[in-house]
């Protein structure tokens, strides 16, 4: 194995992975689209299924027979959602959620089949008194 070839192959691999990192930072391959992205691409998305991510707007959650109504917002846009399913245990106002579903053709609302709760990787004690110091200060 000539050393030069090893170098070229190695460089190609690094370049390919580097390209992936560079593009990935632009979030081009998506598991979900945020609300503002989805609203911007509404015409392109049509009624095809995709995953929508946003924060549940406090005060908009209403239980209806066979489901729940609420608004999600992200990046300054808001979409009203109707979900037909069992919201998970951790579902609450103010938290980020990922919704599996599609836009409704007429109303512009989003029909969701499943709510997934997306939580951050921060873990903050619920009872600060039990832990020394102010947990929000660290």
């Amino acid at each position: 194995m000539p050393a030069r070839r090893l170098w070229i192959a190695g460089l190609l691999i690094v370049a390919a992975i580097g390209f992936l990192v560079y593009k990935g930072l632009g979030n081009s391959l998506v598991y979900f689209r945020t609300v503002n992205q989805a609203v911007a691409m509404r015409a392109q998305l049509g009624t095809t299924a995709f995953r929508l991510e946003g924060d549940v707007v406090p005060g908009t959650v209403k239980s209806v027979p066979g489901g729940v109504h609420f608004d999600v917002s992200a990046g300054g846009d808001t979409v009203s959602v109707v979900d037909h399913g069992q919201p998970p245990q951790m579902f609450a106002a103010g938290i980020p959620v990922v919704l599996e579903g599609h836009f409704q053709s007429g109303t512009g609302g989003f029909v969701s089949n499943q709510i997934l709760v997306k939580h951050s990787s921060s873990y903050i004690a619920a009872h600060p008194g039990r832990v020394k110091g102010d947990p929000t200060a660290a």
């Binding site: 194995m1 070839r5 090893l6 070229i8 192959a9 190695g10 190609l12 691999i13 370049a15 390919a16 992975i17 390209f19 992936l20 593009k23 081009s28 391959l29 392109q44 095809t48």
Partner: protein
């Protein structure tokens, strides 16, 4: 390296032209798979059309498995493989040549399968440029990764069962990306599929490079 590759590729393709195993067995197999999917989903034509890109690439994946197995089966007769490795040809050249030959066969197969899909599934082949570009990258990826693993398994008594276990997980990203790229393209939104096509190119570059590097140890005379 490249002249060795050309030599091996020409040899493999010549053997395929004369033996016609690819045209008489692999291609009909792929069509049978395509028809079986249609049987399984025939009560729901819209679902079949929607699932067409995924089913198409599953059929291509299985055919690729047969093609790379065939690519090394032709070396097993009369210890031709030993001869090739002892001939002083560059292992990286052998790898590239075999991968190129498999890629050519797969490309022909993909064109015929796509026509079959359009007819049998009622799928619309929109944006041919995007379809061809992503399929090209996917084919190079399938062929290079496939030949690499087939070379590893070529000498084994259990290669028919072991190769799918080793190879299919490796090829899963190609299946996923190619299916997504084609889905976006066929539903008239080629823009959405661009990142998936890029991922296919990355996969192809990585496995061609890896193959050139590890071809030596893989094809070492044992």
């Amino acid at each position: 390296m490249l002249s060795d590759a050309r030599l091996v590729a020409a040899k493999d393709l010549r053997i395929e032209m004369r033996s016609k195993v690819a045209t008489n067995q692999v291609l009909p197999f792929a069509l049978v798979v395509l028809i079986l999917f249609a049987f399984a989903l025939n009560q729901d034509p819209p679902a079949l059309a929607a699932a067409a890109p995924g089913l198409y690439w599953v059929a291509v994946l299985f055919s690729a498995l047969l093609a790379v197995q065939r690519s090394f089966a032709i070396e097993s007769a009369d210890a031709a493989g030993e001869g090739m490795r002892l001939s002083g040809l560059d292992p990286a050249g052998i790898f590239l040549g075999k991968a190129a030959a498999v890629a050519v066969q797969l490309a022909v197969l993909e064109v015929l399968l796509a026509a079959g899909m359009a007819v049998l599934y009622g799928a619309r082949l929109q944006d041919p440029a995007m379809l061809v570009a992503s399929a090209g990258a996917a084919t190079v990826g399938l062929a290079s990764a496939g030949v690499l693993y087939a070379a590893l398994a070529a000498e084994l008594s259990v290669r028919e069962t072991l190769l799918p276990l080793l190879l299919l997980p490796v090829l899963a990203p190609v299946l996923m990306s190619a299916a997504r790229a084609w889905q976006d393209s066929m539903s008239g939104r080629p823009g959405l599929g661009v990142p998936w096509a890029e991922l296919l190119v990355v996969f192809a570059v990585v496995y061609v490079s890896l193959g050139v590097v590890v071809a030596g140890p893989v094809m070492e005379v044992t």
